[in-house]
Amino acid sequence: MKRYLSPLLFVAMVMFAIAPVLIVRAPYESTMGLVQKIFYYHVPSAMMMFTSAFVCGIASAMFLFRGRASADHIAAAAAELVVVFGAIVLVTGPLWARKAWGVWWEWDFRLTSSLLLWMIFVAYLLVRKYGGPGSEKLAAAMALFGMADVPFVYVSVNIWRTLHPKTTVIPELPKPMMGPFWFSVAAFVVLYIALLGIRTALGRERSELERAFLDLEEE
């Protein structure tokens, strides 16, 4: 396994330990107060979920159309990360919504399409695990649909009437909130790269193990 991955994971954990200190020092939002602090983990998780869906979709396309086995390992790793970060988004969001909107969940376009995106990649993992021979290609095709869903999820708040804040919130963030927010984003990015690398290496080692077993049987 590549030597830089463990130190990268350690750096990410340290950044995650520092982030709450910066978040506590950030000013309170005027209408939502303390509950708005969930924003500093909820939004970066959503960014990583979207990024991972794109990585999975692109890697799946390379696996389907170019036949690259290494792309399949990256796609499987990215799909797991979509599910992990998606779960974080879908749990932290309702905890925030309970206070901000008075309800845990609302079937508006942003929330519903995010849930659908998460379910597509859960289905990807189930197909890979239980689909039998050839399931990698079927799962790769599903990942293309998952990737196509991401732009809809992102622009939904700007096009349709939803409870969810619009995408203009980030560019218009006050300066004292920008620092903690972008530090959280950086922590999530470093963690994402480390986890993607480690999980991809696991996929590669599994393939080597299968090849070694086949060679042993042939002998």
């Binding site: 396994m1 994971l9 995650f16 709450p20 107060g33 303390l34 509950v35 602090k37 969930i38 983990y41 909820h42 998780s45 797991e80 992990v84 779960a87 974080i88 749990v91 932290t92 905890l95 925030w96 309970r98 206070k99 008075g102 963690l191 986890l195 480690i198 999980r199 290496a201 696991l202 080692e205 599994r206 080597e208 193990l209 070694a212 077993f213 042993l216 002998e219």
Partner: protein, 119 residues
């Protein structure tokens, strides 16, 4: 030895933190009566709600109506629960990947030994 137990220690701490945080979030997110000026504790039993007023038979001006019972949801348990969940989810995933890596490396080492014995 620390590396071997790292996964278990990390998951145990993360789970403990998450259980406390999530329990506080679910309990604390129940609507509460308007509290007095003293800062309310999450673990306090909320005061019993007042019975609804009797049906009125005549016009009553707004200023004479009793004050509305406003729903107050404390934010701290929700924030704690959210952060606890993030930590637990990430630590669980790291532990899961570490476990799978360990299993694959053990099988690879075992396979190498069998190949060497055959040779």
């Amino acid at each position: 030895m620390i590396c071997r137990n790292f996964g278990r220690i990390a998951v145990s701490l993360g789970l403990l933190f998450a259980i406390v945080g999530l329990t506080g979030a679910v309990l604390g997110a129940q609507p509460r009566e308007r509290q007095p000026a003293v800062r309310p504790s999450v673990w306090e039993v909320p005061p019993q709600p007042q019975p609804p007023p009797a049906q009125q038979n005549e016009f009553v001006p707004l200023k004479d109506l009793p004050p509305l019972q406003q729903e107050r949801i404390p934010a701290a348990p929700l924030v704690m629960g959210a952060y606890a969940f993030v930590w637990v989810a990430l630590l669980l995933y790291v532990w899961s990947v570490w476990r799978r890596v360990g299993a694959v490396q053990r099988e690879l080492a075992d396979l190498r030994r069998r190949t060497e014995r055959k040779a």
